[in-house]
Amino acid sequence: MSIDLKTVKHISKLSRISLDDEKAKKLETDLNSIFKWIEQLNELETENIEPLSSIVETKLRLRKDEIKSKNIREEILKNSPDENKDFFVVPKVVE
């Protein structure tokens, strides 16, 4: 199965990464060579195999819902790319 340019552009949309035509063409080549190599997995019969999603197959622990960190609102906001003391700023979302 091959991945065409239209699919590459669709995946880039899903990935929220804009691509110009040149990059999309390069990725089309790369992805096709990578997936051609990945296809060898189809040699294996896996019908009755249980998928493995985590090596640590224990139950997740429960803990009390407690606040342990201090109020570091200002420190956190300092990392915000658009300077504002009180909020994270984004382009207008609601018309």
């Binding site: 896996t46 493995l52 640590v56 224990t58 997740l60 984004v90």
Partner: protein, 486 residues
């Protein structure tokens, strides 16, 4: 006395404990040398002034009961360090200052260690040559044209060039063991769940593990002992009684059964690697171990499985970089446009490639064919190891299919780059511990490594085997300091 920078971590610790060397003297020696070694491009962020101040603080009120008393150490720039810039070598995080500390680095500071700086790596730890870093290639001290390996390339380079007495890296598919092998150093990937992942910039959460990179096996045991801890902040951290790895280190491996997997004799493997492996078997026999031929039948499927699982997890983990709360942002016409432009400008080509692979294999219509398939094959690979470990105590393999390659040699062919991790990736998929130790030189005089793979949480055993072999191998590399500026 020999030069401070020539001492191993364990030797430096004893010298500080015996008051023969102060923390200030040790820290100054490494700061000086690091300042003269900028040609290697090993550091992303230097914390030299703070380090010297902390060394003085230590000397004025020393606590010699700590395991790493006043020891300066540089770490991979993938560990979040409070108030010190942490970038994962990505443009998208190039101004990020964490408000918290990773558990593993906190464990180092709790034992008296001092941060020297943050070391370059592949962007988001995605790479095998350190060529994907936003801050440029790291150069190997072995030779100026060589990659140091990746993704913990800055760590390997700094360690081999003696810019730090030891360091820590992370390993998702070989990122500690492969650069260790390329630079003649010791790299250990612990069992999944041994070292907390809290505060480590996430790549592939079911595979990522932090581990020590050191000049010898004894240092590896000491550093692992400090790094490993049960942590409530990591839901996959495993609560078990951690041994005193350095104290229990022993060269008695008599009667241990060591497996040699036939599937690791890959097509096109060089005679040098064959010989290295044979020598390894001989050393083990000399130590009284028993060599047993084994089979891990699904080995050849490990890499393609990894290149579905790791990108799938990465595409989810990296969804958080949207330019809203921290990191780099590009202006856009609207919210979606801002996301797309920010991520397009903020990520490098390899990271984009992997996000795209991951998004594709998780997307509607392809999930079963790729992601679910890979998870099933992952089970088969894990079962190969569990079956084998009924018969043997550990497995011996080469660490990499070749010695270090040249900068630019593989950067245009992703698949050939990925093939570099053929011997290390299966270990991550099965969550097992693995250690790479320097074992010889190839014809060009570049280091080669051997890998010992152990059962889950059996780090002590592989450390002991490595410790015994280290003695027999007696690895020597004559480091020429060609990169130093006066």
């Amino acid at each position: 006395m020999s030069n401070i920078i020539d001492l191993t971590l364990s030797e430096l610790v004893s010298n500080i404990k015996n008051k023969k060397i102060s923390s200030n003297e040790a820290t100054s020696a490494y700061v000086e040398r690091s300042k003269k070694s900028k040609n290697l491009n090993a550091y992303n962020e230097e914390a030299f002034d703070i380090a010297l101040k902390k060394a003085n603080d230590f000397d004025s009120k020393p606590d010699f009961n700590k395991k790493l008393p006043g020891i300066p150490i540089a770490v991979k720039d993938l560990f979040c360090t409070r108030n010190i810039k942490t970038t994962a070598s990505s443009k998208i995080l190039n101004n990020f200052i964490p408000t918290y500390e990773s558990t593993v680095t906190q464990n180092l500071w709790n034992e008296g260690s001092i941060l020297l700086g943050k070391l370059n790596c592949d962007e988001f730890a995605m790479g095998s040559s350190n060529e994907t870093s936003y801050f440029g290639n790291v150069i190997s001290p072995i030779d100026k044209d060589l990659v140091p390996g990746g993704s913990s390339g800055g760590s390997a380079s700094a360690l081999a060039a003696k810019l730090t007495p030891a360091t820590i890296g992370t390993d998702t598919g070989g990122s500690i063991r492969q650069p260790a092998s390329f630079t003649g150093t010791v790299g250990l990937k612990p069992t999944y769940g041994s070292c907390s992942r809290y505060g480590i910039v996430a790549f592939a959460s079911s595979l990522d593990q932090a581990g020590p990179m050191t000049r010898n096996v004894k240092d590896s045991a000491l550093l692992l002992e400090v790094m490993s801890s049960f942590d409530n902040k990591d839901s996959t951290s495993v609560d078990f009684k951690r041994p005193m790895y350095s104290k229990d280190l022993s060269k008695d491996i008599k009667g241990k059964k060591i497996g040699i997997p036939k599937e690791y004799r890959v097509e096109g493997m060089s005679e040098e690697i064959e010989k290295l492996w044979e020598d390894g078997k001989k050393y083990l026999k000399d130590c009284g171990a028993e060599i047993i031929d084994i089979s891990l039948p699904h080995t050849k499927f490990a890499l393609p499985t990894y290149y579905i699982v790791a990108p799938a997890e990465a595409s989810s983990n990296l969804a958080r970089y949207d330019g809203v709360k921290y990191g780099f942002r590009t202006v856009g016409d609207n919210l979606i446009d801002m996301y797309e432009k920010t991520r397009s400008a903020g990520f490098g080509d390899e990271v984009k490639r992997r996000i795209m692979i991951g998004t594709y294999v998780l997307s509607s219509g392809y999930y079963d064919a790729y992601y679910l398939k890979a998870q099933k094959v992952r089970r088969l690979i894990k079962n190969d190891f569990s079956n084998t470990f009924q018969k043997v105590d550990a497995i011996l393999t080469p660490s990499t299919p070749s010695s270090a390659f040249k900068i630019g040699e593989k950067s245009n062919d992703p698949v050939s780059m990925y093939l570099n991790d053929i011997f290390t990736v299966p270990v991550n998929l099965a969550g097992l511990p693995g250690i790479s130790i320097p074992a010889g030189l190839d014809k060009k005089g570049y280091p080669l490594g051997l890998q010992i793979i152990g059962k889950s949480f059996d780090e002590q055993n592989i450390l002991n085997i490595a410790y015994s072999m280290e003695d027999k191998i007696n690895f020597k590399f004559n480091l020429k300091e060609w990169w130093m500026n006066e």
